[in-house]
């Protein structure tokens, strides 16, 4: 049994360790150390909680059992999950944080005495507001993340689901939550508390269904942010500094990531949230034009020949590479090229893939050294001086239309200047437009060679032809 003051100091220490955990991520060299700080912070927080309760009755046995069960499931998932499935894993984890926040809030509401918040039917006003906000945000995080998970996993179509009056409905439900919390404070009614949670679950679903697949980087970051705010809300209820600090850190982290992702698409946060992007690509005249324009297509042999005679190659990976699991074959290809003294670098657009940093993790998995991988602004000028751009599974992020056509929905989005390369190899399954539903001008340029095939199969064929 330790005093409340001592416990508070330990919680502060664990909060500081969490800050250091994030700080470590500023460079891959310090990142592993940072992760150990995070683990240490978590152990301190859990041990101090046990010590400060000091009630070592039989229930503690059950607490440990449940902890071990959860830990075993978590460890199993962490070791088994393929790197290509990271986006859905993160979405799934967000949903668990959200649900845990809801359950802690419910437990606190049903047994406020255990948390020193007053008695049933007479909970302190501030605590009641904090726990209902924590529960509402947690519930939105939970159901929103479940929808994001289903979309990323492909169980649910990635296409946006929209209906008329959607935004008005969301607005009414959002205001409804606040009105109900107000009445909850007046009446302390259990029924109103449950209603708040149920409506929040509904809002989470409604909020995410209109958002399409390629906007997922924003959605995941946003849900990341929500899970932080939910934790902070519970932290205020429990008067726990570790939880308040962590909630604030995670909340601002998610918010910054959402901002970076929105900026990389030149879209406002509001327009992403309102959703529906990429839904109405019924521009028939565009499709007709596309059929008439000539396209140069080639095979693996042509591609191998082009790259063998190049002196520098830039690889542009995208979501298609993740889907085809082509990262290992790609690395093999690059190794062969390097043996021929060809300079190879990777160019990564911030929104390539389905979550922030998605491509970097896949390349790291394939043992690509991180100092060969460059961000958009660091490499964009190099395209003009390079011989070959190898675009694998990316599309909209290379579309020159974003720079030339003010009418295009992606106008103004920063894109990779792939077309400035002497020649462009474009691995793609078909001519179908990308997620944004816009035809890519790059397909029809004279210096573009289309390689129609599955990304992994094409890369493997090129490897064979490089011998």
């Amino acid at each position: 049994m330790i005093s409340a003051n001592l416990a508070a100091i330990f919680y502060l220490v664990s909060g500081i360790l969490f800050i250091l955990a994030l700080r470590g991520l500023s460079s891959p060299d310090t990142s592993r150390q940072g992760n150990y700080f995070g683990i240490a912070g978590m152990i301190i927080a859990i041990v101090v909680t046990f010590l400060s309760i000091g009630n070592f009755s039989t229930s503690i046995v059950y607490v440990v059992i449940f902890l071990v069960i959860g830990g075993a499931i978590g460890a199993f998932i962490a070791f088994k999950i393929p790197m290509t499935a990271m986006p859905e894993l993160v979405a799934g984890f967000h949903s668990l944080v959200g649900l845990a926040a809801v359950f802690v809030a419910i437990a606190a509401f049903l047994n406020p005495a255990a948390f020193n918040l007053g008695n049933v039917g007479d909970i302190k006003l501030a605590s009641l507001i904090e726990m209902s906000i924590g529960a509402a945000v947690g519930a939105i995080t939970f159901s929103g993340s479940i929808i994001a998970f289903l979309k990323l996993r492909g169980i649910m179509s990635g296409a946006p689901i929209t209906f008329s009056g959607q935004h008005i409905l969301n607005l009414i439900l959002g205001i409804g939550i606040f009105v109900l919390i107000f009445y909850l404070c007046k009446t302390q009614s259990t029924n109103i508390f449950w209603t708040v949670i149920i409506i929040s679950f509904l809002v989470g679903v409604l909020l995410i269904i209109p958002i399409g697949g390629a906007d997922m980087p924003v959605v995941i970051s946003m849900l990341n942010s929500y899970s932080g705010w939910a934790a902070a809300g519970i932290g205020f209820t429990l008067e726990n500094t570790a939880l308040i600090i962590t909630g604030a850190l995670v909340g601002s982290s998610g918010a910054i990531l959402s901002y970076i992702m929105c900026k990389a698409m030149n879209r406002s946060f509001v327009s992403v949230i309102l959703g529906g992007f990429g839904a109405d690509n019924s521009t028939d005249d565009k499709k007709e034009k596309k059929d008439q324009k000539p396209v140069k297509s080639g095979n693996a042999e042509d591609a191998a020949f082009l790259m063998k005679n190049a002196s520098s190659v830039i690889i542009v990976p995208g979501y298609g590479m993740a889907v085809a699991q082509a990262q290992h074959a790609l690395r093999e290809m690059v190794d062969k090229l390097k043996k021929n003294d060809i300079k190879v670098t990777y160019a990564i657009h911030p929104v390539a893939g389905r979550m922030p940093g998605h491509m970097n993790v896949l390349l790291a998995e394939a043992n690509v050294p991180y100092d060969e991988v460059f961000e958009l602004e660091d490499i964009n000028n190099d395209f003009a001086n390079s011989d070959v751009a190898f675009v694998i599974g990316a599309n909209d992020v290379t579309n020159p239309v974003a720079k030339t056509d003010p009418k295009s929905p992606i106008f103004g989005m920063p894109v990779l200047d792939v077309e400035k390369c002497k020649s462009v190899l474009f691995v793609k399954r078909s001519l179908s437009p990308g997620y944004a539903g816009i035809d890519n001008e790059l397909f029809y340029k004279d210096n573009t060679l289309m390689l129609f095939a599955d990304a992994k199969k094409m890369t493997e064929d090129i490897v064979k032809n490089l011998d």
């Binding site: 994030l22 992760n35 962490a78 944080v97 437990a107 308040i244 995670v250 043992n367």
Partner: protein, 103 residues
């Protein structure tokens, strides 16, 4: 008049948002995925609340309505803590420099 303790917690909260803002901006973009998984793991410090709720049951009734929610929340948060930290560790192990690779 004394300052309400809530104001102190609010101060901690707001200062932490600022710390988070500056720390996260310095995270290199190539580590954004591990950033998400580690923030996931640390936000599961909510397990603190779950443990308090679960231990609130009396020895006669370990599982009452309130503590059951606590116990379920422990499982959920524990999945996240172990899963989040371990998957982050697994990812970070893969980020290597050229030199390491040739060894």
């Amino acid at each position: 008049m004394e300052i309400d303790p809530f104001i102190f917690r609010l101060s901690i909260f707001i200062l932490s948002i600022f710390i988070g803002y500056y720390v996260v901006w310095s995270v290199t973009p190539s580590l954004h995925t591990p950033l998400m998984s580690v923030t996931n793991a640390i936000s599961s410090v909510i397990i603190v609340g779950a443990i308090i709720a679960a231990l609130a049951g009396t020895s006669e009734s370990i599982f009452n309505t309130s503590s059951i929610f606590g116990f379920i929340a422990i499982i959920l948060a524990a999945i996240n803590i172990f899963g989040g930290f371990l998957v982050t560790q697994r990812m970070l192990q893969m980020y290597k420099k050229k030199k390491d690779k040739k060894k």
